[in-house]
Symmetry: C2
Subunit: 236 residues, 2 copies
């Protein structure tokens, strides 16, 4: 109450971001182990840090029961995510930085970006709502449009939707897909599913592709595209 909320560090940012992501994935408190795995730390380290985050008012922590972000924690997470996604988009768009490097660069800069620079970048980009990987960008007021998505793999033959992103923004996959003209925003129809976890035959924006292995699991699709134009379209 007395202290100013200038409590930030790369580590704190990363914890909140990780908690946010895990918490959003399946709406439950986040376990210490899940965090430890994600952050590649020991569970002991995480436990210690969680106490600190609790004292900072960023999370609520029921011992042995997992953590949840408080509204402050959520705000912090969304701010960092906003930074990250704006930066990715900016670097790719304004500076033509190649896909695969954008993520790493943003990972560093997100912790350092001032509110002011954030705003300038957002303005320059026309206040975009999705980043180059198709992930939604929280607004300046930290509202985020989390449309529910399903993995491409989970679609049945005949179902269709809009390809919105590759989970975790894996640059390898994105490059592979981009090389075949499969980009976030594209309209996907599932034409055929081979049995026993085999590949899918899909059509993306008219052209057919066979996608197997990890790919259909990683690709996220939003059902009912409703023909609404995405905020920004991407060029190949």
């Amino acid at each position: 109450m007395a202290t100013k909320e200038s409590t930030r560090s790369a580590a704190i940012d990363d914890y909140c971001k990780a908690i946010y992501t895990l918490q959003t994935r399946d709406d439950e408190p986040v376990s210490t182990n899940a965090l430890a795995e994600r952050l590649e730390l020991t569970s002991g380290s995480v436990s210690g840090m969680l106490r600190k985050l609790g004292e900072l008012g960023l999370i609520t922590h029921e011992p042995y029961r997992g953590v949840r972000l408080t509204s402050d924690g959520r705000r912090l997470a969304l701010e960092v995510i906003r930074h990250h996604r704006l930066l990715e988009l900016y670097l790719a768009e304004a500076l033509q930085m190649p896909w695969d490097r954008v993520h790493a660069e943003a990972e560093v800069l997100e912790h350092v970006l001032s509110d002011e620079l954030e705003e300038l970048i957002a303005a320059k980009l026309g206040h975009p709502t999705i980043d180059p990987h198709g992930d939604p960008i929280p607004t300046a007021e930290l509202e985020i449009a989390e449309h529910p998505t399903r993995s491409l793999e989970s679609l049945q033959v005949g179902e269709s939707g809009r390809f919105v992103r590759v989970s975790d923004a894996d640059p390898e996959m994105l490059r592979y897909l981009a090389g075949r003209g499969i980009l976030p925003g594209g309209h996907v129809d599932v034409i055929e599913r081979q049995p026993f976890g085999g590949p899918l035959l899909v059509s993306v924006d008219g052209s057919e592709h066979t996608l197997g292995g990890e790919l259909p699991r990683a690709m996220r699709v939003e059902l009912e595209p409703a023909a609404a134009e995405p905020t920004r379209e991407r060029s190949a």
Copy 2:
């Protein structure tokens, strides 16, 4: 010899930058006290850090005799300075960030900028050689054109030159000057000097101004403009 030279931290950057600046000002080893004052630290702190910098091979330190940058140290300093000045220019130019905030922002980002992003920014700006304050920007190979400059105050009546920068890039001063149309690159003639440290009457690009107080001390002028165009001109 065995260790990689990935030795960087904001503090180390700042020490090297400060040493570089002080060393360049008057070509002598830099005293501990001068550094302490500049960095706003106690001399004890500086002494301790100097040992470390010595071990890192960034400086040579003759005890009680001051320090000099080694070639590695100089390289580091120039790299940070390059980052700083590129960032200032980029923020001002590409993002229209106002003068007075550019410096603070660059001060943070300079420590974090990757070589790759540096290069992209430099390319975007057309590999500029001077920053918005008129300071030279080291090249990617870390060569810097340090033209000798004199303070405007030191000029005699009748001498003239090119206004190249405001020392320390004081944003207040720069704003004041810019408001009067006095910008780096302008041609300055000293028309009259009032005695006893009084103000100077100068003409800048044709229009006359009376400049007194700290201003003439802070303004740096390059003699013999030789009519060479500055690499980039600035708009008001």
